[in-house]
């Protein structure tokens, strides 16, 4: 009898220890599930900012290009008037440098594709965040459901609600508790 008491005591101690471990995990997991949507929102903001700034820079580059083309036309007109050699020489020089500038502008313009390349990388990060968010929520739900009797119907219902929550911007412990409450857990 005394032996059985010892075993039960040991078991209870183990359970208590396990409860502590779960409690310790719960806090950082919940905090992380709150931080993830915020991070995703920040990345989305960066993507919007990148796009707006890229267009603003391209507008300016186009304006410079337009001016350079106009300068080119004017120089061609002046050259067509058969200027004296010294003036012709200067005009030819302006024409060459102007064309160089137009080429540089086009090169700059093509470098703006950094926005597309950076955007694709950021989208990958967003996908990863989405996956982490899903895993974390699964962990939170399984933690709270652990040890409780959940039938098949309830589990299906919870899964449905979890998907619903995942489509929202913010997910926190409150959402999870509310959902569990709905299922009487």
């Amino acid at each position: 009898m005394k032996e059985l008491e010892e075993i039960i005591k040991e078991l209870l101690e183990n359970v208590k220890e396990l409860e502590g471990v779960i409690e310790n995990i719960k806090k950082p997991v919940t905090e992380s599930s709150q931080l993830l949507p915020e991070t995703a929102k920040n990345i989305e903001d960066v993507m919007v900012f990148l796009e707006q700034t890229s267009h603003a820079i391209m507008n300016l580059l186009e304006k410079i290009n337009e001016n350079s083309n106009k300068i080119g036309e004017d120089v061609d007109f002046l050259l067509s008037l058969n200027p004296v050699p010294k003036v012709r020489e200067r005009l030819e020089s302006i024409k060459t440098r102007n064309q160089e500038n137009i080429n540089i502008l086009l090169e700059l313009y093509t470098h703006m594709s950094f926005h597309d390349l950076a955007g694709q990388q950021l989208k990958t990060v967003l996908d990863v965040l989405q996956r982490i968010k899903q895993t974390l929520l699964d962990v939170i739900v399984s933690q709270v459901v652990a040890g409780k009797e959940v039938n098949r119907e309830q589990m299906e219902g919870i899964k449905g609600k979890v998907s619903e929550l995942l489509s929202q911007d913010r997910i926190n412990q409150e959402d999870v508790d509310k959902l569990l409450e709905e299922f009487g857990l």
Binding site: M58, T110, H111, L117
Partner: protein
């Protein structure tokens, strides 16, 4: 090598507005002004079925319908199957290029690219 005539109608397909603008500007510099845009493969396919185009420049990674699916849809369509398609993408792995070629793209450009590269690829496609 001769370039395609300047009056050809080109469809530029990319989900990034900046990229569409870059390609359009480069095409303008090369003398092509008859250009339409689409944001993804689905939108592009709808345009291709409704209007006549001579050339398609498409990205690979796009929402709703990606570039690879667009190429496959074009090659499986009796009316569109001979339409030249150039893929412009950040996907630079050998297997990506092989997959795109298998799907039926006429040529492949890795981003970022220069106007010279686009010109060279267009010359090759239309030779």
């Amino acid at each position: 090598m001769p370039m395609p005539p300047p009056d050809i109608r080109i469809l530029v397909v990319d989900d990034m507005s900046t990229m569409r603008r870059i390609i359009k500007t480069i095409l303008n510099q090369l003398g092509y002004t008859n250009i339409e845009e689409a944001e993804n493969g689905k939108q592009a396919l709808a345009k291709l079925k409704k209007e006549k185009f001579d050339f398609v420049i498409t990205d690979w990674n796009m929402p709703e319908m990606d570039g690879l699916s667009l190429v496959k849809a074009i090659r499986n369509d009796e009316e569109l199957k001979s339409l030249p398609v150039l893929m412009v993408t950040a996907e630079a792995k050998k297997e990506n290029v092989m997959e795109a070629l298998k799907a039926g793209v006429n040529n492949y450009i890795v981003k970022p690219f220069t106007p010279e590269v686009l010109k060279e690829k267009m010359e090759k496609i239309f030779k």
